[in-house]
């Protein structure tokens, strides 16, 4: 159990996917200007990433590896993830419209989100077991959501501040993200 706790702490804080591994930055800067969208995106990523982590692990270990097709991993993963997102979108639209209303607009963005693909590749690279894969995918996604929501709070204030013109918007957003990344050094060495 404590192994999993350590893995979780590592994925959420120490190796935070956004701030330490530089994955998923486009949506990070894209949707963090408002708290609601940040929360929506965070939830969508949690949802998709767990599914994607599981399904790519299965693809790797039950299909690619046994047949020696590891070199097709990139192709296989992206197709599997794209199909998964499509499927999730259709499923939500039909079955849980309320959730779809909240997450729907974020789902297409996720297909081309480095964070999702990146975590799936990390899971394979680290040779995680299936359960470890689930834990790591879930906690990486939580870390993504946490960073996104914290950043949205910071960003909302930056938007109201007197930022010089050339720095406005993405530019100061990036500097702000740098400051956040700096703050996350607090967790260095804890897992």
């Amino acid at each position: 159990m404590s192994d999993y706790t350590l893995l979780a702490v590592s994925c959420i804080f120490v190796n935070n996917i956004l701030l330490m591994q530089y994955l998923g930055n486009c949506p990070f800067l894209g949707v963090s200007k408002r708290m609601e969208t940040a929360i929506g995106m965070g939830m969508a990523v949690v949802f998709v990433l767990v599914l994607a982590g599981a399904i790519t692990w299965i693809t790797e270990n039950l299909v690619l590896k046994p047949f020696g097709f590891e070199y097709l991993r990139t192709l296989a993963f992206i197709l599997v993830i794209a199909a998964l997102v499509q499927f999730v979108e259709m499923f939500l639209k039909k079955s849980i419209p309320a959730l779809y209303a909240g997450l729907g607009i974020f789902l297409p963005l996720i297909t081309t989100n480095c964070a999702v693909m990146g975590v799936c590749l990390i899971n394979i690279k680290e040779e995680y077991t299936f359960v470890q894969t689930l834990v790591s995918s879930f906690t990486y996604a939580i870390g993504f959501g946490l960073a996104l929501v914290l950043f949205a709070g910071v960003r909302e204030r930056i938007l109201l501040a007197r930022v010089p013109k050339p720095l406005q918007d993405t530019s100061i957003g990036l500097v702000g993200a740098g400051m956040m990344s700096l703050a996350f050094f607090a967790f260095k060495g804890m897992a």
């Binding site: 990139t74 192709l75 992206i78 480095c114 999702v116 693909m117 530019s171 990036l174 500097v175 702000g176």
Partner: protein, 197 residues
Amino acid sequence: MAKTVVQEFTKGLWAEIPPFRIVLGLCPTLAVTKSVENGIGMGIALTFVLVCSNVVISLLRNIIPKQVRIACFIVVIATFVTVVELVMQAYTYPLFLKLGIFIPLIVVNCILLGRAEAFAAKNGVISSFADGLGIGIGFTLSLTALSIIREVLGSGTFYNIPVFGPSFKPFSFMIQAPGAFVCLGLMLCVMNMLGKK
């Protein structure tokens, strides 16, 4: 009026240079620009994939059904990414190790799908080639510029050659994660000040 091929090429070098004018593809920009070598390597890899996929998609644009075009684009892009992956492993293995998962991640880089969707799917082969090459070189230039700043200040070297005297203690913040964000942010500011023209 349609732009000339030259214009399609040059727009990627300044007017639409990624990731400054088109704010896409931030992850590799942040992750690999620790050193000039990595930056240029990544830029070339991406340029290769971009040019190839732009050309192929442009060639096939009339056969690809609208409904599944994204899936087809992804297959084309993923194919070339894998080619790059294999070739880099075979010939520039140390670089491949340094760039790590950011090579396979080219497949989800928004620039590629963005160009495929916005340009190659609508334009001829030659224009698409020029567009891909321009954007790719623009991206490479950006990464190079950023990595020069980061490597020189953060490691005290340029292309692994020391540029300061031996007593210099490098400002290694620049090659760490927060430095990457701050540096890119400030560079974006400079680009904003320089304007579009």
